[in-house]
Symmetry: C2
Subunit: 160 residues, 2 copies
């Protein structure tokens, strides 16, 4: 196959695979934990941070969200008892999000099924060399895209 057609096909496969995976994830996190995929990601990030806590802004920058969008999600997660928002000790302007016991429990209820979906949906059809190749390619593309899309923090700066 010549290169332009190959690129076109690869692009479409990428977009469709991403949409399908997203749909699977939404279904799974909703079913196993009653939370959206985004909320699962936020919980997972908090759980992975030291002491299960992170500043709201850092949490926003690590996803693609505006701060108002994160405030909204933060309120939902807090109302559900999955996180708490407490004033930061070092900078009183800041709010620190902390994952609760309930949050940990929910995460642990969702995680096994999540791993299973990724395994079944992505990796079960790839052998080791394909996995390596896919990993290399996706990492290179992601790094490139990072240089093209400003982070939430950069977007704020730019507007100011």
């Amino acid at each position: 196959m010549d290169s332009p057609a190959r690129r076109n096909e690869t692009y479409f496969a990428f977009i469709e695979a991403a949409n399908l995976l997203q749909a699977l994830m939404e279904e799974q996190t909703k079913r196993d934990g009653g939370i959206s995929y985004l909320q699962f990601v936020l919980l997972a990030r908090l759980a992975g941070a030291p002491d299960g806590r992170m500043r709201m802004t850092d949490l926003a920058d690590s996803t693609v969200h505006s701060r108002s969008g994160l405030s909204y999600q933060g309120r939902l997660l807090e109302d559900a008892g999955l996180i708490e928002r407490v004033p930061s000790t070092d900078d009183e302007r800041s709010v620190t999000a902390v994952i609760t016991e309930t949050g940990h429990a929910t995460l642990e209820r969702v995680l096994p099924g999540h791993v299973e979906v990724v395994e079944q949906g992505m990796f079960s059809v790839l052998d080791d060399s394909q996995l390596d190749a896919l990993s290399d390619g996706l990492t290179a593309v992601r790094d490139r895209l990072r240089t093209l899309v400003p982070s939430a923090a950069q977007r704020r700066k730019k507007r100011a």
Copy 2:
């Protein structure tokens, strides 16, 4: 790197790359044509179909949407003059969407920049062998995911 860590890294790279690419696409289609990425995809599908026409249901099934969601998008596109919706001749229950001259013009205004974004964001960092490997891997994953996610038509059947 051992395999579980490799998989985890690959999964995250995939999700992040997809999110970043989506953000770039939304920005580009909005800027060049005043339409959302989904609307661009719908227009492109219509333009690629024989006579630039397709049944609403088939259009819905080729994306991930419910029919009500497509009705909504169809109305937006029709209000913008980019498509027309006409009764189907062979089956009077059906509605056929047809891309208009304005729709073609909009598509042609968006397409070059779109190709450019894909080229710059994805392919400029891959050599030929990486492209082949990425294509193979993504195609395999997409095909696998297709078997796991029911189409819009299947979802309708299941509920009935």
